[in-house]
Symmetry: C2
Subunit: 527 residues, 2 copies
Amino acid sequence: MMGPMERRSLLRGLGGGLALTAGLAGRTARAEAPTPAPAFALADATARFDCDLATPARPLRHPWRTCVGSCHAPTALRADWQRQIARARAELGFAHVRFHGLLSDDMGTVLVLDDQLVYSFLNIDRVFDFLRSIGMRPVVELSFMPAALASGGDTVFRYRGNVTPPRRMEDWSRLVSTLVGHWVERYGLDEVARWPLEVWNEPNLRAFWTGGQAAYFDLYQASWNPVKAISPRLQVGGPATAANAWLPEFVAWSERNACPPDFLSTHYYPTDAFGNEHSDTVSQLAAAPLSVMRDRAREARAAAGARPLYYTEWNITSNSRDEMHDGPFCAALATRFALDVDDLVDAASWWTFSDIFEENWLPSRPFHGGFGLLTLHDIAKPVYRGFELVARLGSRAWTVAGAHPTVAAWVGGGEDARSSAVLVSNVAMPRHEIRAERVAVRLSGLAGRRPRAATVTRIDESHANPRAAWHAMGSPDYPLPRQVDALQAASALAGEPIGVAGDGATADVVLALPPNAIALVEIDWAA
Amino acid sequence: MMGPMERRSLLRGLGGGLALTAGLAGRTARAEAPTPAPAFALADATARFDCDLATPARPLRHPWRTCVGSCHAPTALRADWQRQIARARAELGFAHVRFHGLLSDDMGTVLVLDDQLVYSFLNIDRVFDFLRSIGMRPVVELSFMPAALASGGDTVFRYRGNVTPPRRMEDWSRLVSTLVGHWVERYGLDEVARWPLEVWNEPNLRAFWTGGQAAYFDLYQASWNPVKAISPRLQVGGPATAANAWLPEFVAWSERNACPPDFLSTHYYPTDAFGNEHSDTVSQLAAAPLSVMRDRAREARAAAGARPLYYTEWNITSNSRDEMHDGPFCAALATRFALDVDDLVDAASWWTFSDIFEENWLPSRPFHGGFGLLTLHDIAKPVYRGFELVARLGSRAWTVAGAHPTVAAWVGGGEDARSSAVLVSNVAMPRHEIRAERVAVRLSGLAGRRPRAATVTRIDESHANPRAAWHAMGSPDYPLPRQVDALQAASALAGEPIGVAGDGATADVVLALPPNAIALVEIDWAA
């Protein structure tokens, strides 16, 4: 498992042999060649941006990295799941993982034997022990209802998560108390105080909770009380709703009832609210503005006030079989959304890190439109690589001036002034006009710094796009090991040299961008 | 992961510092001390055996090593399952593993989408890829019925394996054909021809099969036909019955119907047939003779004729919560049973290798009486160590003369004459008289060989008995990592020097054996 920095060096080293196809210019650059000239004249740019590096930077907080989603708890016991999340942790830096069903019967958490409730936390321990062994932590979603406690038989998904309120609320409280107490004993209070305890999942949807709002608020309080009795330092939150729902009501109710949340959580998918509920994913997405995630995050932030705000689920669509998830469009749109909410939210947990996902059924096909960043065969999809590029923007960002219907630009850097990174994307919602663009980003306020060298790393139809390689090999349902190796190679990022002109005062990044594409230009400065 | 031989050397090396408590003699020997004198005078022996090493040896076939059982297929995706079986493979040499439920819905093997049957073999591939990666192979149990094919809703176990015949037998045949064809494509015919394909599990029990014998025979034929259509080299067998049932009928029917089995399989637990069906495990076991496994194996061998005979399940009891499984009694009884059928059966698959077992529910307690050779926390139980000692008998055995109500002795060795191994056990069924014994085994026909050195390795209440260590630490339900380490240490085998007197013609192994104990004496010969 390589760390992000080793990976970056390796890929730069490997990049030399690979051809760069610049969509508009149609020319080929090779790493052995002298630094290439810009792809077009600055005056021909169709999208222009300016960034003054002499102005104060804001922190780039990368809330997309705070947490990532996963299929339900039992999948976390799988060897392939553990291998994949260890890689995503090492390469992308995810700190927490969240999944449904920790309390469900297939985790064996609680059952009735001889009329007694019996607890068994072996499976949960095994998952959390593993997470701690790779430096990760859970966002603990307290769900679903163990059959031993349930008031009804309604279930969700193929794996039959029970979505009914408890028959006796005190049994729920006792389960929460026993389980959280066990964690404090096993991992220590300092550790468990870093695990957000989120009550349930999407209780505003009947498919996930048959009890309605009042019963959910009761469930939340019946969780808050035993946890806070163990220690007020432990963090309890909610309402974990779909589509930004219930936020002001939840805050008001919980404050009125002396159980204020330590964090506010909700979900948003850009397909949630637009178009007809029964329309197809493309139609729903086509009806959403590009600003949808930022718009909703602003509203949620207003409800949260100073509390941490966690989007514990998001993705570009909520359709678990959507070919958009597998291609470069997803990388372009997801990175735009992630950067759009960087200053507004404290976590934005991509649903999900892996196509090992069995809510409906687990297909075998390598690219089947699943939510995952990684395919069933451990292949990084373009969106995985997109987050990798976002991470390489660094820990600080500078304001970028300029606007364009489809192109956006971000300028970032690390804690020193020796390098800068410019991320550009060209993306539009489906059925909206998009074309290849000639992008120019002028950096000013350089205080004498001149470009020493620069590389461009692209994700588009012909870069870091393993699905295209899979199609080229005949779309095998069951790829053989050598085919999986070829897909791994096709999924790699490859940096190429790019010419950046600069005079010590300003420098111009100019590059062609095809539709549904992103590119990261990394500039090393000479003093 | 150590191989058995490295482990053996290591343990011998470590043995030096450990005290040996000989049950009867009550004295302490230390490895640093000169080779100790025998624990008692030869004339005081209470159990005597003789073995002439000048007679021809018979092969020691170790059918217990051919296959081992496991909980149902989805557990084979777990990281802890994979870690444990890789260890058992490396240390004990298991060649195959068998489990229920390969075709069940929780493996996602087949489902109906838009009125079409859809196959998905990802999970199965993942399990078998893993097994091949550690040099193991499956015994493929074709079970249970996918809901998409089932004629009814009857299920078995907490994990709800569907036990009804297929609604349309041709759908079953097509599934078998598609799946086995997929394996041949993925792994090659030479490989798949080494996987016994066993049709169903215990169809003679209504809990596992609602169709009765005639429907089972149909299912077998509907499996045999498509497999043999792929290649006659593939091995299909059955009837996989509980308790030695249906063997002659199955052979007669299948020969009459032109689908003769490539192997015969059945199960036997010594609790199967004795005492009242509703009596407790101890009563059932108490009613069985010590020869029960050999008696049944003889009958099954008669039915099998020259065909391979696989006991695809056995254990000392069929009770999944039986404290006997965790202690030295199990090691003494299981090793006796294993050696008793060595010349009669071609596989005797211990049910199961691990306590990671969720047929009823998965407890957290380290010692809960599960079937496993290894506990939930990877601790080798005495029976695991017992099989380790049986393996160390080597590949050849010599006839041992002598009889005793509770003590038995075996003499083995490898392919050369440089060492011999003497295994002795002292065990009785529950409620039968047993006492500490003074055992003497006289080896003759030595052709000038004299003992150069000898070690004894014991399994009894105070040797290789981690449950006793767990009790001593207060029986924690959730042992902490340091406690797990202590249990690992307590589970280790420790060889101690033992004096063996010899004059080049004969040599005498004499040692005290407490009840429910085994000991292996390994002698290096000087020419």
